[in-house]
Amino acid sequence: MLAIGLFVVTLLSGALGGLFSRHKFADFLQATGSFVSLLLAGWIAKIVIFDGNILIYSDHLIYIDALGAFNIMLIAMVGFVAAVYSVGYMRYEVAEGFITRVQLGRYYFFFHCFILSMLWVSSVDNLGMLWVGIELTTLISALLVSFYGTQHALEAAWKYLIMGVVGIGFALLGIVFLYMSGLNTMNPAAALQWSSLMVVADQLNPQWVEIGFIFILIGFGTKAGLAPMHFWLPDAHSQAPAPVSAVLSGVLLNTALYGIFRIFAIANLTLHGQAAKYLIGFGLFSIAVTVPFIMVQKDLKRMLAFSSVEHMGIITLAVGFGGPLGLYGAFLHMFNHSMTKSLLFFAAGDVAQKYHTKFMDRIFGVLKALPFTGIVMLIAAFGVAGAPPFSIFLSEFTIMLAGAASGNIFAAGIFALLIVLIFAGMSYYVLKMAFGKMPVRTVHQTDFWMKTAMSILLVFVIVGGLYVPDPLVYAIHAAVAIFQGGIK
């Protein structure tokens, strides 16, 4: 019932926020709703991760294990801070006359439906249902990308929709192949269930599993922004409203990766570790592709979007390295990236909103014009670029060690070189924006709601850089155990 409650509360937050959008309390209502969702997600995490149960309802339709609970927790967390941030961000847009309160209502509704679709993906056992969920995330988020209705927003949303739907179509084909690989060994009702496939993984037909996995990697990889299928991503992430960009980069990409990893877990068992080489290839290529785009970027939000491609590459690479250390690094990096990138998008959104531009050469003196946001932007940008002592540094370092430990020294070396280059590119632009003379405008105080959202994430970024809290370590180990086939 807990999972159903989570879905209902999320849907209600959107519905109420949409219904009463003419009144200001709708803002409060939807933020409270997503806080309740967060509490429920925490409760689920407690039962699943810390008490070691698996939640199964209505004949495996809903199935939450530690891997799913980990993702649910991340989604609910980023969803909550983004809902809080949305209040401040959108009130400013309404005050400036860019949108009306009625449009805001529509935004709230689709925003929470979007969160709901991602929660659904993380709590199903049936791979067909997982596909249905990931397709839904594309459809709903395309509406959010087109929210402003400008030429650029529509162009981005259209590209995203077509690329997403076609890519995911290929993933469906992959799932069909996987389904058939098991039809000889198991009954048809179970042949799509992840938990049953995982048990008989070594008896599946390896040829079909390999073809299926490649299709799924390409299909969901399109959605996760893995290169070379990533080119819709900078458009969509830069044109969406800032809180949506944060959710897109922070958790939607993870959710697509989650789809890949679920199937990878099966394929790697069937293929005796051979599936990992695909992940290493795609991962490294995704990191490498972003280097030139980050180095010569003009648009602030596009730069962040390319950085998301990079980080998805890093997570994929880490899972490819494998072993306890690689998988630990991958999930730790997933968590750290979600927190840091959302924070950076929040800061960038505030900057772009107050400067009325996303072009980095027109933004300078942020530290003076927006003191709070300026500091957050600096910390988050250095955090994302991988500077110590912030959380991403820790996970990137772990992944590098994992690469060396797993014998992929060459790949680990290239990885290290690439992130140094990206670090140089990003810090150059961010320092230029942060310092310099204050533009001829008054000093803006960061809005209370935005400040709250950013402060929450800031804690994770800073504390996470000093040490990894025990509950997180425990949660990651539980997720990794599921990943390696430790279904109880």
């Binding site: 339709l61 049936n126 067909g128 249902m129 596909w131 249905v132 397709e135 839904l136 459809l139 395309a142 509406l143 087109s146 209705g149 400008t150 030429q151 650029h152 529509l154 162009e155 981005a156 949303a157 259209w158 590209k159 929709l161 077509i162 739907v165 076609v166 179509g169 469906l172 084909l173 069909v176 389904y179 058939m180 039809l183 000889n184 048809p188 009702a189 799509l192 900078p234 458009d235 830069s238 044109q239 785009f293 010569v296 970027q297 003009k298 596009r302």
Partner: protein, 211 residues
Amino acid sequence: MDSFITVILLVSTLLLFRTKKTMDAVFIITIQSAGLAVIGFIMWYRTGLVHLLIGAVLTLVVKTFLIPYILYYTVRKTKEHRNIVRSMGQFPTMLIALLLTVLGQYVASHLMLPGAEHGMRYLSAAIGLVFLGTFTIINNKQVLMEGIGVIVIENGLFLITQSLSYGMPLAVELGIFFDLFVAVVIIASLTFKIHSVFHSLNTEKMQDLRG
């Protein structure tokens, strides 16, 4: 009967590369979906599996009536009757489409699949549809036609699942139908927005975001 429907599916899809009117394309989609529904009924008749019957009825309702109606409405409201613009000329377009159809046949004949004795004949058409749908998206420069390409791909995928493994479990099939329906609604609503902002449905005007 099997070959007859396969031929109808492929010929109607090939006509997609000949037509100059968007409305014709909507009509072709309707024919194609009706063909899928008939295949669904045939498969049900042969295997007696109830969920194939449900799938067939859903195909009839959602794909043959609802979705074409939404597209029809969109074409009428945007008044974009006659503006299919392709990147390639008439001759190369048709040539590639034919080659893709043959490729579909070739791929299908080389797949050794379990559990496909009743549906094997449709497999070539199904794979052909996926290829042709992808080519429609690549080759067209008009928003609605790209949307139609997506539907052709989905139809192909649906036919593959139907013919290979007697369809997915019912819950999944319902989910896929729901997704397709939502996708078409969103494609239509974005088409309206694009039409009102760009005053055209040509995707060449939508190439500003780069780098």
